[in-house]
Amino acid sequence: MSAIGELAHGERQKDESRDNKAGYIFLTPWLIGLVVITIGPMLASLYLSFTSYPLLAGPTWTGLTNYIRMFNDPRLLNSLVVTFTYVVVGVPLQLILALAIAVLLNTGMKGLAFYRSVFYLPSLMGSSVAIALLWRQMFGTTGLVNQLLQSLVVENPPGWIADPSTALGTIILLHVWTFGSPMIIFLAGLRQIPTMYYEAASVDGASKWTQFRTITLPLLSPIVFFNLVLQIIGAFQAFTQAFIVSGGTGGPADSTMFFTLYLYQQGFTNFQMGYASAMAWLLVIIIGIFTAINFAVSKYWVFYDD
């Protein structure tokens, strides 16, 4: 390489480092926030997870006691089953619905902006307390859903939120209903796929379904992957809906006792903040494992069109 080339290279490095400095300065408010309100409390909770901390008195070091106790806590295991069910059923259903609506909206229909907003609305409201309360009313024994069913001559509709076999289902339904954010991301992804692929395929006589399977899905797979990772992480942390729909109890009979809800009860109702901290770290580990698996498996199905 010539001297001029090297000179230019050096100049560029200097520029880059100056740019970086400016970048970090702009990042400072966020960095301070990260350290003070995320990393600080996280480390504090890591310490507390090795203590017995009854909230009103200070923490005392108990080593691994909290972690060992988790393995002998049947309600904790039950809360894990509830949470896993919610994630494994809720997330795929939500993503399939989001993708289906996104594909529909991408067909170039009139009033796209309007429909896009309408379908996005539940995502804005879905995690709110008001909607969870509304849900509880709708699926109550004498709620809107059962009134509708009764007018359609269903004789004894179940009490959806009062029956342990359906209560979790209503909360999953609420989650699926809030498909707006993955839908918007899918829609953006669909827009990125060059139309010439579809034109070439239809010239070759490929059906719409074949086109979807062989063009849309592979080219959209990075977006699917992104949504999947994000939604799984989010679903593991779901709390508000279960808290409101069950009145904070996780009932009936622990059927909506999410891991996060049990954690909250241990910490704030039973004054066992040490145990609750240990549970929080278990959740971090579980989410970490799921995300790692997601990334490991992704290389077999995610297709990057570079």
Partner: protein, 428 residues
């Protein structure tokens, strides 16, 4: 990398500092007008909030050097908030406390010994002071007396063509038959009785009539077999139609009080503390009748007790002890304060205040006072304070397992007893 280590060390220090800062406090708080500021936290409803604000205004008028800042709240969320405030060293000075939690806070040194601090209980009715006493001191002042009641809705009885039984002689069997008759006689879907199996004070009444109790000085005071019989009774009455169906009953557990079946005239009999009768009178628009819970043999041995509906406590870390004691004395002993508060928090324990309040009582208040005075001569042993860990009994969760027939009554009773015993032992 060195930089990163420093950052990490700093973060750990901050984290530990944050967790360690719960201790300390105790400095007096004043505002810029030189007034002593005390914070006063309670749970309640609209009526209570209004009355309490009036009492605060009167107190401030008489004590211009003290500024009382009210922190009203709802029962749900109140305890989470209080626990968090306590842990953060930011507890309110004066705290509306419940008997269920007083040991939880008092035994851990979070509350002020009010007797030592100089609160006056000399005019309190016999037996009404010790409701706030733990081994290490008097941590709560009775804010009003309560007792378990059976509430009968005359409109529902009448519509079903059933007479309200004589509560001095009725038995649990009478209750079961009455409730079943109401369900069968009602044309509009009203049900005879709330499922009392998941009502904690009724469980306690029943256990006491069996010679046991929910708690005593040693902790849990019942055995699984006896509780199993109680659960079995609940299941039987559900199957006979005396109680609502399982899914209705389980849904009732999470409803706000004013939306429950009792408040909406769909129950003949339901079970609450006496001070809640007024709220149900208002919600249902009926002149509800207060009955004693039944006894085993109809001999009038109801084994009832007086409970403090709630208590006045103070934070052990308050820096304004003098103002706090003055304010609690005012709440508990001042006749004018009593006239404002009425019996909304239960019947005043201070006999002077009770007499002063009596002439102005409204109909619903008057019948509550009348009920409490009529049972005074029949009371069983006083109750002991709920031990640490005992607040978390989870009767609703285990009861739901029974009514949904996911567990046998005996298995659920054993589950509850084992769980509660280990919680109480862990707390002791």
């Amino acid at each position: 990398m060195k930089m990163m280590n420093k950052v990490a060390a700093g973060v750990v220090t901050i984290g530990l500092a944050l967790t360690g800062c719960a201790a300390g406090g105790g400095a007096p708080t004043t505002n810029d007008q030189g007034q002593t500021v005390i914070r006063f936290s309670w749970w309640g409803n609209d009526t209570r909030n209004r009355l309490t604000e009036e009492v605060i205004a009167l107190f401030e008028e008489q004590n211009p050097d003290i500024d009382v800042q009210g922190e009203p709240g709802e029962w749900s969320g109140y305890w989470d908030r209080l626990a968090t405030q306590m842990a953060a060293g930011d507890a309110p000075d004066v705290i509306q406390m419940d008997e269920k939690y007083i040991a939880e806070y008092g035994e851990r040194g979070a509350l002020l010994d009010l007797e030592a601090a100089g609160v006056d209980v000399s005019r309190f009715a016999p037996g009404t002071v010790d409701t706030g006493r733990l081994s290490s001191g008097l941590f709560g002042i009775n804010a009003g007396i309560n007792s378990p009641t059976v509430i009968a809705n005359p409109a529902v009885f009448e519509a079903a063509g059933v007479a309200i039984p004589d509560d001095t002689t009725w038995t649990w069997d009478d209750l079961a038959q009455t409730a079943q008759a109401i369900t069968e006689g009602s044309s509009d879907g009203a049900v005879g009785s709330q499922n009392y199996m998941m009502v904690e004070p009724i469980m306690r009444v029943w256990l006491r009539q069996q010679g046991q109790d929910e708690f005593n000085e040693d902790g849990v005071a019942f055995d699984a077999e006896t509780l199993g019989q109680f659960f079995q009774q609940g299941l039987d009455l559900q199957q006979s139609g005396a109680f609502p169906s399982a899914s209705v009953a389980s849904e009732e557990l999470t409803k706000p009080v004013d939306q429950t079946m009792g408040a909406t005239n769909r129950l003949g009999l339901f079970y609450y503390w006496s001070n809640q009768v007024k709220a149900f009178d208002n919600a249902s628009g009926q002149d509800l009748q207060i009955l004693r819970p039944p006894s085993m043999n109809g001999d009038g041995d109801h084994e009832l007790w007086y409970k403090a509906s709630m208590l006045w406590s103070a934070s052990g870390r308050t820096g304004n002890q003098e103002a706090v004691v003055k304010f609690i004395n005012f709440l508990a002993n001042d006749v004018d304060a009593g006239k404002i508060l009425g019996v909304e928090r239960g019947v005043p324990a201070n006999l002077d205040v009770r007499e002063a309040v009596r002439p102005d009582l409204q109909a619903s208040d008057a019948k509550i006072v009348e009920y409490l005075e009529s049972i005074e001569s029949e009371l069983g042993d006083p109750m002991t304070v709920t031990p640490v860990g005992g607040a978390d009994i989870e009767l609703g969760r285990w009861g739901t397992e029974v009514i949904l027939e996911r567990m046998t009554p005996q298995a659920a009773a054993e589950g509850l007893t084992t769980e509660l015993t280990s919680k109480v032992q862990a707390g002791a």
